[in-house]
Structures are given as structure tokens and as C-alpha cells.
């Protein structure tokens, strides 16, 4: 199935959406009121204490967000194809 790039999000929208997404993740990692609010919590998420899960979650969301960005950029032809890579 072929995808028409004209249906893909325009560059500005993509920049805005992913810019906001990455900024929020950056704030989760850097803004003290966020991470200090869960300091010492004994709550469990998937069997992992919340203060540990919090850091793992940021890393996972960052990885997933970047994968989605890569897929979108690949579909819209923004990443040049290359040949001969090892």
C-alpha cells in the first residue's frame, strides 16, 4: 500500500506535536515539582515502585516518541534513502 505524502502531517504540525511531546518529557525529567512529588511513594506500577517506574516511563516514552517520528519522516520521504550501508 502506498501512502500519499500530502496526507501526512505538514512539517509545522509535526514540529509542533513532537516539540510539545518532547518538551513535556523533558519537563518530567527536569522540573523538580514533578519528580519530587512521587519521592518516597510506595505505590506499585506493574510491580515496580512508582519512584523507579517514573524514570523508566520517561525513557520508554522518549523511545516510542522517536520511533513514531522516524516512521512519519520515513513515510513522508524526509529521510533520504541510502545504499551500500554495512
Amino acid at each position: 500500500m502506498k501512502t500519499d505524502p500530502s496526507l501526512a502531517p505538514p512539517g509545522r504540525l509535526k514540529t509542533l506535536v513532537f516539540g510539545v511531546y518532547f518538551f513535556l518529557l523533558l519537563m518530567m525529567a527536569l522540573f523538580p515539582p514533578f519528580y519530587l512529588s512521587i519521592s518516597g511513594s510506595n505505590a506499585l506500577v506493574l510491580g515496580i515502585p512508582l519512584p523507579i517506574f517514573y524514570w523508566v516511563l520517561i525513557a520508554v516514552l522518549m523511545g516510542l516518541g522517536l520511533w513514531v517520528l522516524y516512521v512519519i519522516e520515513s513515510v513522508t520521504g524526509e529521510i533520504p534513502q541510502e545504499e551500500g550501508a554495512k
Binding site: A29, L36, S41, P49, I52, A59, E78
Partner: protein, 510 residues
């Protein structure tokens, strides 16, 4: 330290180490071929795909101390997991700068990170200052990497070898390995990084998952961790101010691309796509491996032996669980990580010496550059080996390593603004880096950890603020010439993103 009275245990640990080293040398011989140019020698001819980029980056990112110092952090509490955050957020910058950094690298035949800074600000001085900061910052980590190898041999010999013997063994392994780093350059590094990475990160992660499914370090232990382990520094009940974690994570995030060996991975890629896909795989490796290792550390943290010696917890816990065979595996994993990191440091420092510093007075031919890079690597590793011997158990070396981290992030201002913005000039880049690094060195000497009066900010952040202020002040005060404006505009234009027909997309007219 683990001791044994059974001689056969020594054969197990040293036998496994021998097998690992033999495998590494076999990979080197199997992939050895003559470099055809300095670019071929320094960045592997810009020919590598995403998996090689990812493994090479991971080798240069996580040193052997991940299994000692960082492991101990997670034995002590939730703090250790911050490494997973800054590692993944930091490498994201590689994705975002891929277009410009790789395109400029190919267009101007750039081989090092300072090379890019010099080109962007049209200033050899910027290149040289950045290169000197990079080499000096990397040096203490190589010294500590060699010393960490000595510790490995103490474990492998079950404490039977004295410190001096272990140190000689560590130095010998490093020196033998560097023969191929020097002779093969980046190609040898990338090939062995794949081999070492499979053991240090993939095998380690698989082993930790296996152990988390068992009884001794069961995943269920995580739900029973004591409350004090779940405190985040800066919160109530801790001794740090509220900005301590911010400083640690921010330094790690922006520091990621400042380390010359990390940045140089961009130039080894065969194209922008390889850099971007390599970044995704890198996140999987640096984040996945580290997260799983730290979960294991937290799960085993209540073991009395590990709690008493958290820095040695990786070795002690695996010996307790699986005896000498498991200890041998633990040692080889750390050995692979340590060698991978030291190799990356030596290679990039030799390359920077030749490319950025030895061209100070006159241009050099490809052959001269390659010879100079090899000579630089030999001198660098020889000096590090001597210092590793002289400063073993020298506590202040750790301070030098801390200063180096606070120093290397001063490259962030010209690097990030140089790639992501058309503003800034060479005067701001030079003055900013110098002001930033002087402040960072002075403050780290006074406050090695944090500055309590500033909410536990670290010295590097203060240096960075001053660095950025100088950079912006110069950008505002010194107006660029029309020729410089046109040159910078052309740089950004040549690396602008253009939509092209891809395998999935229908061709469109732009």
C-alpha cells in the same frame, strides 16, 4: 573480595577471559584491511549502518563503572535509574542534529566534533579549544578505565594476585588491545564494538532478565523495597537541595553529544537515515540494557553481602547465585564494557590530536594525518597507563573525572546553538567556552558534588549559564559581515530537509 581455595576456579575465570580476548582478536583479524585515506582511518569511510552506529555509541557511552558505581547507586535507591533518563534523552539530540551534522560532515570531510565547530564558526581557534577540552576531559576516564580492569583481575584471581600484579595485567590487556585500535583505526573499533557490545549489553541484559525470573534476585523483590530506597534526592528526608536531580539529568542530557567519541559516531554512518535509525536502536540498547541492569541491582539490594559492598555488588551477587562460572561471566561482561569504552576514548583522542591540533601550523597530507593519529594514540594510552599505575587508589582522581564532566558540557553552547541556530559567532564561542570551563573547574574544586547555597546546582551548570550569557552577549554585540551571513545561510540551506520519494511515499513535486 571473593576468595577461594579451589585452584580450578582460577582456570574458569581466566579461561573465560582468555576465550573472550581470543574472540575479540579473531574478529579484528577477520575484518582487518588497509585504510585508503585519513577519512577511512578516522571514521571508517562513512560506511556503517544503524546497528553498528548503535553498538558503537553504546560502547562509548557506558563504561565499566556502570557495573560498579551506577550499580551501587541502584543498590542504594531510586537514584541510579536517573541514568536511564539522561542516556535516552541525551541520545535523542543525535537524531535531531542528524541532518546537519552528517551532511556538513560529508560535504566538508569532517572527522571530529571540534572539526564541525571550527567549520560552523569559521574559526580554527574554536576547533582547537574544543579539541583540547575534549581530550583533557576524556583522559581521566581512560585512566580510571585501566584501573577498573585491575579490579577485574583482582576478582578473577580471587584476591590471590596483589594490586601491582593486577594493575600490570590490566595495563597489558589494554596495551595489547590498543595495537589494533592504532593500526586499524575506526574500522577495528566498530567491528570489536559489535562483538564487545553483544557480550557487555545484550548478554548482560538477557542474564539479568533470567536472574530476575529466579529466586535470589526475583522481580517480586522490587515490591518490597524499604521506603528509604524510594526517596529521590532533593525531596524531604534527603540531604540535597531541590535542584540536585535537575543538575544531574540536565548535565547528562546535554553532555551526551559533547563527548567527542559519542558525536563522532555520526560521521561513521553511511547517511542521515543510518544516523536516525541508529539513534532509535541506541535508545533501545543504552536504555534497555541499563534499565534491566538497574532493576536487577534494586532486586538484589537487600542481600546482606551486596548491601555491605554495593560497588562490588555485581560480582558478589553473581558469584553467590552461580559460583565461579557466573562470576567469570560477570567479569567478562565488565571487561567487554571497559575495553569498549577505553578503545573509543583512545581512538577519538588520537584522531583529534592529528586532525585538530597537529594541523595548527600547516596542512597535512592524509598519510601524515594517519601517522600523527597513530602516534597520538600511542602517547595517549602510554601516558594513561603510567598514570593509572601511579594514581591507583588516589581518591582525587575521581574529582578529576567530575571536573571533566562539568568541563565537557561547556561545549554544549557552541555545539547546540551552532547546529540548531544561525546565530552566534566565533568570539562568543571561544570566550563562552573559556569562561564556562574556568568557572566549572574552580567551583568543582571547591564544591566537588553540589553547591548547597544554590539549591544543590552543580558547578558545570553555573559555568554553562555564564558560557551561554557570554555567547549571547557576543552574538548581540558583534554583527556578522554580509559574507559570513551568506556563508552560514548556505550551510543551513545545504542541510535543509527535503521531502523525497521513498519506498512508501508517492513522488511529489516540491
Amino acid at each position: 573480595m571473593i576468595s577461594t581455595v579451589v585452584d580450578s576456579n582460577l582456570f574458569i575465570t581466566f579461561g573465560i577471559i582468555g576465550l573472550f580476548l581470543a574472540g575479540m582478536i579473531a574478529v579484528l583479524y577477520a575484518t582487518n584491511r588497509e585504510s585508503t585515506s585519513f577519512s577511512d582511518y578516522a571514521v571508517g569511510g562513512r560506511s556503517y549502518g544503524p546497528w553498528y552506529i548503535a553498538m558503537c555509541y553504546t560502547n562509548s557511552w557506558w563504561p565499566g563503572s556502570t557495573f560498579t558505581a551506577f550499580f551501587a547507586l541502584s543498590v542504594g535507591g531510586a537514584l541510579g535509574f536517573y541514568g536511564m533518563v539522561y542516556a535516552t534523552l541525551g541520545v535523542t539530540a543525535m537524531y535531531l542534529m542528524a541532518n546537519r551534522a552528517w551532511t556538513w560532515g560529508q560535504r566538508f570531510n569532517l572527522t571530529t566534533q571540534p572539526d564541525l565547530l571550527g567549520m560552523r564558526f569559521n574559526s580554527p581557534a574554536v576547533k582547537r579549544i574544543a579539541s583540547i577540552i575534549g581530550i583533557i576531559s576524556v583522559f581521566p576516564w581512560v585512566v580510571m578505565g585501566i584501573q577498573a580492569l585491575a579490579t577485574l583481575f583482582q576478582f578473577a584471581s580471587f584476591g590471590r594476585w596483589g594490586v601491582t600484579t593486577c594493575l600490570f595485567a590490566g595495563v597489558a590487556v589494554v596495551l595489547v588491545r590498543q595495537y589494533w585500535t592504532v593500526s586499524m583505526g575506526m574500522r577495528g573499533l566498530i567491528m570489536t564494538d559489535m562483538f564487545q557490545g553483544l557480550i557487555a549489553y545484550v548478554l548482560c541484559a538477557a542474564l539479568c532478565v533470567f536472574l530476575l525470573l529466579g529466586d535470589s534476585a526475583s522481580f517480586s523483590h522490587l515490591s518490597q523495597l524499604p521506603s528509604k530506597m524510594l526517596l529521590i534526592p532533593g525531596g524531604s528526608g534527603t540531604t540535597y537541595g531541590p535542584l540536585y536531580m535537575f543538575s544531574l539529568i540536565f548535565t547528562g542530557v546535554i553532555g551526551s553529544m559533547c563527548w567527542p567519541m559519542s558525536f563522532q559516531r555520526i560521521y561513521t554512518a553511511s547517511g542521515v537515515r543510518s544516523v536516525k535509525k541508529g539513534t532509535l536502536l541506541t535508545i533501545l540498547l543504552v536504555g534497555g540494557f541499563y534499565g534491566i541492569l538497574m532493576l536487577f541491582a534494586a532486586a538484589i539490594s537487600q542481600d546482606p553481602n551486596v548491601a555491605a559492598h554495593p560497588q562490588q555488588g555485581w560480582f558478589l551477587s553473581l558469584f553467590d547465585i552461580g559460583g565461579p562460572w557466573m562470576l567469570a561471566l560477570a567479569i567478562v561482561i565488565v571487561l567487554a564494557a571497559s575495553i569498549g569504552h577505553v578503545d573509543g576514548c583512545v581512538q577519538v583522542c588520537g584522531t583529534q590530536f592529528a586532525n585538530d591540533l597537529a594541523t595548527w601550523s600547516k596542512p597535512r597530507t592524509d598519510r601524515q594525518l594517519t601517522v600523527l593519529a597513530k602516534s597520538g594514540m600511542v602517547v595517549f594510552i602510554a601516558a594513561a597507563s603510567v598514570l593509572a599505575y601511579l594514581t591507583f587508589d588516589y581518591a582525587r582522581l575521581q574529582l578529576l573525572a567530575q571536573i571533566s564532566y562539568q568541563g565537557i558540557i561547556q561545549l554544549a553552547v557552541p555545539l547546540f546553538f551552532g547546529i540548531f541556530s544561525r546565530r552566534g559567532n566565533k568570539q562568543g564561542a571561544i570566550a563562552g567556552m573559556l569562561v564556562g570551563i574556568v568557572i566549572a573547574i574552580v567551583l568543582t574544586t571547591i564544591y566537588p558534588d553540589d553547591i548547597p547555597g544554590l539549591g544543590s546546582l552543580t558547578s558545570g551548570i553555573i559555568g554553562l549559564i555564564a558560557n551561554a550569557a557570554v555567547f549571547f552577549a557576543c552574538a548581540l554585540a558583534i554583527k556578522p559581515s554580509p559574507a559570513e551571513v551568506a556563508r552560514v545561510e548556505q550551510l543551513f540551506e545545504m542541510a535543509a530537509t527535503r521531502r523525497q520519494p521513498s519506498g512508501l511515499a508517492t513522488p511529489v513535486m516540491n
